[in-house]
């Protein structure tokens, strides 16, 4: 954003209430600055980010990490950012990241569950396939753990796979099942009479629902539980949501719940949102830092190439070290746009009633001088040499300016 827009809003994406530890845990970084940069990379590695156009992502690492977006937003973009913010809130509250080591441990549990239920003799007669693409990574691990023969591993859709598998049974492996729809789609194209579904991560109620709904599914075995976050997400409105969901889901899924966030070292499950303009589901936000996941890394690389970027996150991280008594209040962000300064005190007002302020010319210079010196005296000494103005006038205006900023909660006294 290089030119000064007529209207500029600031939208809070991260308001600091989650604290630093959760941000460090989600991004797997060692310090606040690196964590905010990693989070910015995750946010910007999305087609939805490119569609926002000229915006400015600004953050501050201390005392608590905060992040906001400066720009001019359409109603549809505000809804997308609301979605982004809700996801961030949930991810920082609870998230589960599965690296390759974790996946191996989970695959061992899955192998044990299969061995307990079927025994080695029966397992040697089963055929195994996977739901692309993450399922193949899990199946590769299972193949070693169960010592599967190469001829037991079959690709889906290769005739006569399903008919060959009819007699002995087909094990369908996936990395996770969140609603079961991908499995349902898979099953609709599979003629196997006896199916064992093995998602590595799933909610137990989803597994039981699949067993109840699909006569061909002999068992749904998973290794690790995913919690249902819908009750916490909707709170008192959960019963209403559940009723609406049950009415809406129809035959397109098995389970009326929302599985907790899970991401793998190879991919982060795709999210979707309903685009009210195009009236269809479109790709939503994915927020896992690209460095943590193969698919995210590739997506980020392509998006960077598409916009001619360097791959570095485009985020301003403010670092305020004033030496004087005047300091910028916690939760205040600022950015320079075409020589003007935009100031935002992150607000607890969802309605957007707090002002995003604009400083130009003398006001902008006063802001930078106050930031540099942290005192009226220091700022005045610098400014009086710059402007053709009596010192007394400048002193009076500067004091009034500081009082106004204090009134808006922008500046505070140490």
């Amino acid at each position: 954003m290089d030119r000064m827009p007529l209207h500029l809003d600031a939208i809070t994406l991260l308001d600091g209430r989650h604290g630093l530890e959760r941000l460090l845990a989600f991004t797997r970084q060692a310090d606040a600055e690196a964590a905010l940069r990693a989070l910015a990379q995750g946010i910007q590695a999305n087609p939805l980010w490119l569609a926002l156009g000229a915006v400015r992502l600004v953050g501050r690492a201390r005392p608590a990490p905060v992040l906001a977006l400066f720009g001019t937003f359409s109603p549809a973009q505000r809804l997308q950012l609301q979605d982004l913010s809700a996801q961030l809130d949930e991810l920082l509250t609870a998230h589960r990241y599965v690296d390759y080591h974790d996946a191996e441990r989970a695959a061992e549990r899955l192998a044990e569950a299969l061995s307990r239920r079927y025994g080695s003799e029966t397992l040697s007669r089963l055929r195994f396939t996977a739901i692309p693409r993450g399922g193949w990574i899990v199946l590769g691990m299972l193949a070693y753990l169960l010592d599967l023969r190469p001829d037991q591993l079959v690709a889906p859709g290769r005739d006569p796979l399903e008919r060959r598998a009819d007699d002995e049974g087909l094990v369908v492996v996936d990395d996770c099942a969140l609603s079961g729809l991908r499995f349902q789609q898979f099953l609709s194209q599979c003629d196997a009479a006896r199916v064992i579904f093995c998602p590595l991560y799933a909610n137990p109620a989803l597994c039981r629902a699949i067993e109840a709904a699909e006569p061909r599914v002999e068992a749904c075995l998973h290794a690790m539980d995913l919690q249902d976050v819908a009750p916490a997400r909707f709170g008192k409105a959960y019963p209403q949501w559940l009723a609406e969901r049950r009415a809406r889901i129809g035959d397109s899924g098995y389970w009326c719940g929302i599985a907790e966030y899970v991401a793998f070292a190879w991919c982060e499950p795709q999210t979707r949102y309903w685009n009210t303009e195009t009236e269809r589901f479109e790709a939503g936000w994915n927020l896992l830092p690209p460095a943590l996941s193969l698919k995210r890394r590739i997506a980020a690389s392509r998006l960077h190439a598409a916009r001619g970027g360097t791959g570095e996150p485009d985020v301003e991280l403010l670092d305020h070290h004033a030496h004087g008594p005047l300091i910028v209040a916690d939760g205040v962000l600022w950015t320079e746009i075409d020589s003007a300064v935009a100031l935002a005190r992150l607000s607890a007002e969802p309605s957007g009633s707090a002002p995003c302020l604009r400083l130009e010319e003398t006001a902008a210079d006063m802001w930078w001088a106050l930031l540099a010196h942290g005192s009226l005296e220091g700022a005045e000494a610098e400014l009086v040499a710059r402007y053709a103005v009596p010192g007394e006038t400048l002193r009076r205006d500067l004091a009034g300016f500081v009082a106004q900023l204090q009134g808006h909660g922008i500046l505070a006294c140490r």
Partner: protein
């Protein structure tokens, strides 16, 4: 951040500083807990499901 030290200090015409409103600051970080009612997400951002129900053609 010492912005001023990087600038030339020429004596220029002075105008009293003004604090203008450019727009608004909105906090939407708590909307998820206070404004439920969509399909899966609050408001009209319905449809987020964690991705496992991606329709054919969308790779997960």
């Amino acid at each position: 951040m010492n912005k001023t030290t990087q600038r030339e200090t020429t004596r220029r015409p002075y105008r009293a500083p003004e604090l203008r409103q450019w727009g608004t600051v909105a906090d939407i970080t708590l909307v998820g807990q206070t404004n439920p009612g969509g399909d899966l997400l609050p408001g009209q951002a319905e449809g987020r499901d964690g991705g496992s129900i991606s329709p054919p053609g969308l790779s997960r």
